[in-house]
């Protein structure tokens, strides 16, 4: 028996271990600059690419897959190519081969020929690769000095415009109400009229300003776009790439380990601190990290107090009758309901009922411009996750309170305390580590849940995030990005899912790390509580 039981445990551990090894081994190497091979085939064609994997297909022999990048120049618009192993005549690792990371169309693999940078301060002599690096540095400077301030000003104008528009809508709504009301208040009506006219004028001004700024931006962009890198691809064809679109350039074949490590660090930093590009397959995942963490924390804040209250009621106040037993069974079984059902409930109850009511009540004036709370948003998603995880908290709280020996309660009563005082001052402190265990489990579950979010407000690309510098800073009605959903969209919803695969591993790894971090923090907190109480259990 002991062998069977031990075997079961071993099987479970093995499964988990394999999963972790797969995620780690694939996720950790994504940003490591792999060498680029120059492959000559028997028929004379040349390929420049990274070896991805090989497969032995029956009848065709060993096939090797290369990532050749250069998507827009490929005849089939492919990043990847299969090559028969026995057709390969020779391979080598040209030191001069460069990788250009670009804003669009993925990487470019090739060789730098020359730099045409009329607008940039670059020496026109020397090694073209170093020229390119200089040009990129100079380009960055131009971007931050000329383009970014413009972008910020445009953004500011857009904000102002929006604010003015909302004021105008409010005024117009008020006007309509006045017209429909029985008592005609002429004075108020004319005042409103004037107000609205004024707002319209302001909006017109702002609009003009904004258009001017946009024009200015296009001009700057156009002039920056004149700066080109002339590069050669694998076949030796000359291509020109605007330096504007290049993010980074490196020569994987001539980097030492230190250069590779710093490249790796830079990529990880980019991942953690920048928004995504190219349908989430490149760039960073900052908005998704933020969305995930914010969602879980919001859920905890909204639902855990409720769960603790319910658990306290069941554990301390409710008499052990038929009804309570029924409720307890119900609560225990809530955990078994598929999470998508909670998502549907979230849509039906939170979005379509509560959200709708809120919109009707407070945002009626701007409904013509789009819904506010009557639609998916981080608040509704958090509440949906909340009802999904709250049973765990309830059960943990009830259990933690019920296992407290009767003597402890009686000692408190014997000192003349009321039921409430006993609960707050004696029972809850004793139960707190157990309640924390419930929090941890609930949080871990919430952080990994995706299905209900898909119905209640998660999106794959969002123009805005629920937190920004504009009042009231935290915008609970906004949609949000989420790492779990990102995994799904990047893996299955991108046109070029093969090229996106590394990103899937990276995001998965990140999500696992964040879940570990969140529960790790909760566990630390619990252990500190236990230590303070000096309860001698794990």
């Amino acid at each position: 028996m002991v062998w069977v039981a031990g075997g079961g445990l071993a099987a479970v551990l093995l499964g988990a271990l394999i999963l972790i090894v797969v995620i780690l081994s694939n996720g950790l190497v994504v940003f490591w600059p792999a060498p680029i091979e120059q492959v000559r085939l028997d028929d004379g064609t040349q390929i420049l690419g990274r070896r991805i994997n090989s497969e032995n297909s029956i009848g065709r022999g060993l096939q090797v897959r290369f990532k050749t990048a250069n998507r827009e120049f490929d005849s089939q618009r492919q990043d990847f190519h299969w090559v028969a192993d026995d057709k390969i005549a020779s391979t080598d690792l040209p030191a001069e081969c460069v990788v250009l990371e670009r804003l669009a169309n993925g990487d470019f693999y090739g060789f730098v020929k020359e730099i045409k940078s009329p607008g940039l301060d670059v020496k026109q002599s020397g090694d073209p690769f170093h020229q390119l690096q200089d040009a990129l540095r100079s380009m960055d400077l131009h971007k931050t000095e000329e383009l970014d301030p413009l972008l910020r000003r445009i953004e500011g104008k857009t904000d102002e415009l929006n604010a003015v528009k909302l004021s105008r809508l409010k005024g117009e709504y008020r006007q309509k109400q006045l017209r429909n009301s029985a008592s005609h208040d002429e004075k108020a009506a004319t005042a409103l009229e004037g107000n609205i006219a004024e707002l319209k004028a302001v909006a017109g001004e702002l609009q003009k300003d904004s258009e001017r700024l946009v024009n200015q931006r296009s001009k700057v962009e156009e002039s920056l776009r004149q700066n080109l890198a002339i590069v050669l691809d694998a076949q030796g064809a000359s291509r020109s790439i605007a330096l504007m679109d290049v993010i980074r350039v490196y020569r994987p074949n001539s980097m030492n380990i230190l250069a590779k490590a710093s490249h790796y660090a830079a990529k990880v930093w980019e991942l953690l601190t920048t928004p995504p590009r190219e349908a989430n397959t490149e760039g960073g995942v900052l908005p998704a990290i933020f969305g995930t963490v914010a969602l879980v924390l919001l859920m905890a804040v909204l639902s855990f107090p409720l769960g603790v209250l319910a658990g306290v009621y069941l554990g301390e106040y409710a008499r052990d009758g038929f009804l309570v037993r029924l409720v307890r069974i119900g609560v225990n079984n809530l955990a078994g309901i598929p999470s998508i059902v909670y998502g549907i409930f979230g849509v039906g109850f939170f979005i379509n009922s509560l959200g709708h009511a809120i919109d009707e009540q407070f945002y009626a004036y701007r409904l013509a411009e789009g819904r506010v709370f009557h639609g998916g948003g981080v608040l509704w998603a958090a509440l949906t996750l909340g009802i999904l995880t709250v049973p765990v908290v309830i059960v943990a709280t009830e259990e933690a309170i019920r296992v407290i020996p009767r003597g402890v309660r009686e000692s408190s009563y014997a000192l003349g305390s009321t039921k409430f005082q006993t609960l707050i001052r004696v029972l809850l402190p004793l139960a707190s580590p157990g309640i924390m265990t419930g929090f941890i489990l609930a949080m871990a579950r919430a952080a990994g849940e995706v299905a209900p979010l898909m119905l209640t407000g998660v999106v794959s690309t969002a123009g805005t995030v629920p937190l920004d510098g504009r009042f009231p800073y935290l915008h609970l009605e906004r949609q949000f990005l989420h790492l779990g959903f990102q995994i799904y969209t990047v893996a299955f919803q991108t046109p070029n899912s093969e090229a996106a695969r590394p990103m899937v591993y990276v995001i998965t790894l990140l999500l696992v790390l964040i879940v570990l971090l969140l529960s790790g923090m909760a566990i630390l907190l619990r252990n500190r509580m236990r230590k303070q109480l000096q309860i001698k259990t794990i």
Binding site: P405, G407, S411, Y413, A414, L415, G416, S417, T418, L430
Partner: protein, 288 residues
């Protein structure tokens, strides 16, 4: 007591059948004190208690003298704890219980519905069999009773905590770690902490339900010494299984058997020449 003072008829019959002693009068021979403490502090009269349909106390009548230690002895299940828990209405916490008769504490009926239980429990403290420290610091454990009574003044609290810990003979051991969790103390220290906690609210009576049964012999003797000191200021009623302990610490001893008070006399007298056969059987170890 305002409601029915008689047990249901069916139960009354059962009592008569199972306990022939119920009809006989208990031997009560406690010398009436002659000084100012003339009136007993607790007067129990005709107390019957039912757990559901089973009767645990059968018409108990007993007066506990002031500022003395009274021991309750008897075989397990005879109703010692039940009687003790009546005195501070701790039995209220148990469902499906019914009590008849009368208990006067300081001449005041406490079984009335209108009794302020909170106030009663401040006057009648209790120490339980298993030590039950709260998940708080040592200081907060002792200050608990005062705090819930609304005491906020730091100085008063500090003084009360120190005084109570000294009375419980715990001060020297814990004075340097008052802010640490009480759960880290040893079992014997826990029980003395519980005594300090009960003492801190300055009750008139302290009920102790087998306070030493979970302790090792050394801790037991410390707690016994403590009881000897506390009797100066408090009336102590102690349930014990340990006959030697009863002999050591108490002035009076009451012997209960199957819910009936058999004998209540000065400890010395009860142990040397028991008046009833049941008492003798119990003391000589023939049952219990």
């Amino acid at each position: 007591m305002s409601e029915a003072t008689q047990p249901p008829a069916i139960l009354a019959r059962t009592i008569a059948k199972v306990s022939p002693t119920a009809a006989a009068q208990p031997v009560v021979d406690v010398p009436t004190p002659t000084d100012t403490h003339a009136q007993p502090i607790v007067q129990v009269k005709d107390l019957c208690l039912f757990y559901g349909r089973s009767q645990a106390l059968k018409s108990i009548t007993i007066d506990f003298p002031r500022n003395q230690v009274t021991a309750l002895i008897g075989p397990s299940g005879c109703g010692k704890s039940t009687l003790l828990r009546c005195l501070n209405r701790m039995n209220d916490l148990i469902d499906d219980i019914s009590t008849t008769g009368s208990i006067l504490v300081d001449g005041q009926e406490i079984l009335d519905r209108g009794t302020d239980v909170i106030e009663l429990r401040r006057r009648v403290g209790m120490v339980f069999q298993k030590p039950t420290p709260f998940a708080k610091s040592i200081y907060e454990n002792v200050a608990y009773g005062l705090r819930i009574a609304g005491m906020r003044d730091r100085r008063t609290l500090d003084e009360a905590v120190e005084k109570s810990l000294r009375r419980a003979a715990l001060w020297d051991e814990v004075k340097d770690r008052l802010r640490q969790s009480a759960l880290g103390l040893s079992g014997g220290q826990h029980q003395r902490l519980c005594i300090a906690r009960a003492v801190a609210v300055n009750p008139e009576i302290i009920l102790m339900d087998e306070p030493c049964s979970a302790l090792d012999p050394r801790s037991t003797s410390r707690v016994e010494d403590l009881i000897g000191e506390l009797r100066e200021d408090f009336t102590i009623i102690i349930v014990t299984h340990n006959m030697l302990q009863a002999a050591r610490v108490s002035d009076q001893t009451a012997f209960l058997y199957e819910g009936v008070l058999i004998e209540f006399r000065p400890t010395q007298a009860l142990f040397t020449c028991p008046a009833k056969k049941e008492t003798e059987d119990y003391l000589t170890g023939r049952f219990g």
